[in-house]
């Protein structure tokens, strides 16, 4: 079992996400994270799925995803062949803002992106282990809320979406 990033290049039609996730559901495989967004080309979406499975299984998943009529192409990558980021938001009560917290923010390269009378929101982008480390620390600061996005990623190889779509 390994962590893989699956990229799906697809037409932006209703229900496409459902069709993709059904393929995971059928095999009883959990999706670790999923993000969907527009691509550089209008009308074409890209879905990025993080999944932990054996390579054999991932290949079969990718083949079956690619079989979906409205899917243009699907790939899988190991972590070292993609550049990826995640974003995490942390909500902390204002009462806990002190020198210690300031130091933590500096050390982790986090930002305060909102300040309200009762709370502040910190933002950190990075890999999961980085945002996780900050999470563990902030739990000591009466963390009110935490949210982390799925992975947004681009492949390292020089194949462009134009080559894929053609």
């Amino acid at each position: 079992m390994k962590r893989y990033t699956v990229f799906v290049i697809t037409e932006n039609f209703i229900g496409i996400l459902n069709r993709i996730t059904i393929i995971f559901t059928r095999r009883g495989i959990n999706i670790d994270a999923l993000t969907a967004s527009e691509s550089r080309i209008e009308g074409i979406h890209r879905v990025t799925i993080e999944v932990t499975a054996s390579e054999e299984t991932v290949i079969q998943l990718v083949n079956q995803i690619e079989k979906i009529i409205d899917v243009i192409k699907a790939f899988h990558h190991e972590d070292d062949s993609v550049v990826y980021q995640e974003i995490a938001l942390y909500k902390i009560p204002v009462s806990r803002l002190d020198g210690g917290l300031e130091k933590i923010i500096r050390q982790h390269n986090a930002k305060i992106i909102a300040a309200e009378p009762e709370f502040v929101v910190l933002e950190l982008t990075g890999h999961k282990d980085q945002t996780q480390r900050l999470l563990e620390i902030l739990k000591e600061y009466d963390l009110l809320e935490f949210a982390r996005s799925g992975r947004v990623a681009v492949a390292k190889r020089m194949l462009t979406i134009d080559d894929i779509v053609k």
């Binding site: 229900g15 459902n18 069709r19 290949i59 009529i69």
Partner: protein, 564 residues
Amino acid sequence: MKDSKIRGADIVVRSLIAEQANIIFGYPGGAIMPVYDALYDYHDQVRHVLTRHEQGAIHAAQGYARVSGKVGVCIATSGPGATNLITGLADAQIDSTPLVCITGQVAAHLLGTDAFQETDILGMSMSCTKWNIQVRRVEDIAPAIAKGFYIAKSGRPGPVLIDITKNAQVDFGDFNYIKCEGFRSYKTQIPVEKSAIQEAAFLINMAERPYLLFGQGVILGKAEQELKAFLEKSGIPAASTLLGSGALSQDHPNYVGKLGMHGNYAPNVLTNHCDVLIAVGMRFDDRVTGDLKRYAKQAKIIHLELDPAEIDKIVKCEVAVLGNSKESLSLLKEAVNQKSHPEWMARFRELEEEENTVVINNDLKPIKAGLTMGEVIHQINHYKADDAVLVTDVGQHQMIAWRYFNYKKTRTQVTSGGLGTMGFALPAALGAQLHDYSKQVICVVGDGGIQMTIQELGTIMQTKAPVKIVLLNNNFLGMVRQWQQMFFEKRYSFTELDNPDFIKIAEAYSIKAQKVTERADLKEAIEDMFIHDGPFFLEVVVEKEDNVFPMIATGCSVEEIRLS
């Protein structure tokens, strides 16, 4: 300009006509009524057959598609009409049958509000269709139907569902039908790679005991001639899967029998003795492979397959030849040496003899009093035409009919293979018959399965489809009973049936019927059935507790196939 516009419902029907859908199976209801109203105007151009249940409609469309090679079409209303299609969709999906199913849907402004007869058929059918779409605007109807037909029949065929809201059916729009010829996200043809052909030919030319398995892919790819030519040049013995039967005449010298759980002895056993295994248009179903850990481990496997997702899905292959079987087989034929394998072929014939002695002779010429299913099929073989179509349901009768029916022509085998849908046969036989009234269509069915869709006798009555229905009645859900006997200590839990008087039922539908309980009457009854002009219902009461052998029990390897 309003004058040039037509109703969405008319667009639906005219689109179907543009796709040469000569026959439509269906059942009306509220949300599809505008389409039915339009059908009234076009009844001279397209024939609609009213079945007695939507499941009957879709199975009939499947039967029609399987024998004709065309896209089967069925129509149903929203809600329960649509959900009644689900079994047929799943069946067509797993057996790669091209269908276009049109369902009515509540008006667009009511979607998602739990309106009367509203159901999320798009969501429900997503995992059992090749493609589906909901059309909410009149201008989207024709393009959706064009795309649907293209998807259903191209590449690896499959079922398509088009859900059309009522407002789209009653609104007016322009009709300018443009057939779909492809779109960017869907590749139907992969050109066969020359290097794969070379690698495959190399293995085949080196092989001492090559062996070929063919499936429905040969029929779907219209590659029957190419298969025959390849076999004749290479001298390779060939066995068929359930759905591949008919792709090669059983009289062909290279034909060695049938694969799988209840297939023939030699083809199963020798799977584990060949040195090169060539699989053509088949997907290594678990009913074919038995225990995978002990399946053809000694062999180098070559997989000729159109669908990339099938490669290495179940069995890892040495060489994958992606592409249409028609093209790949003809290229492969050019690349292999002319050869014969008399000793290897003789091993098949040896084991065949063993199966004859232990199983087949007793099945076909029984000495015991009770009638066997096998002897019924054996008698049918004497009277059937070469191109007679055999439609079967699911269970013991299906396996026996498949084992003993003498397949000579392609597209003569219609059965529910992958899904194993009881109730499939009667409506599917109706659909097969309506494709061609002059062809013999023989529907062999069990007493369990027929009662799941027995209402379609009404459709047979109304259409006068001359289907020859052969009910093999053992008053049991026979296959389940066989398993209970073999693996559940004869605990016959809910498998025995108190059956109605089937003859009376058939006669109530004005279908000529006859019941046979004695061997002495069988031959004449079958003769009468074939002579009779029109539908015929023949009930044969067979031995209650016969078993189907050979059998590869669950968890066993193909080599461990039991003869008794």
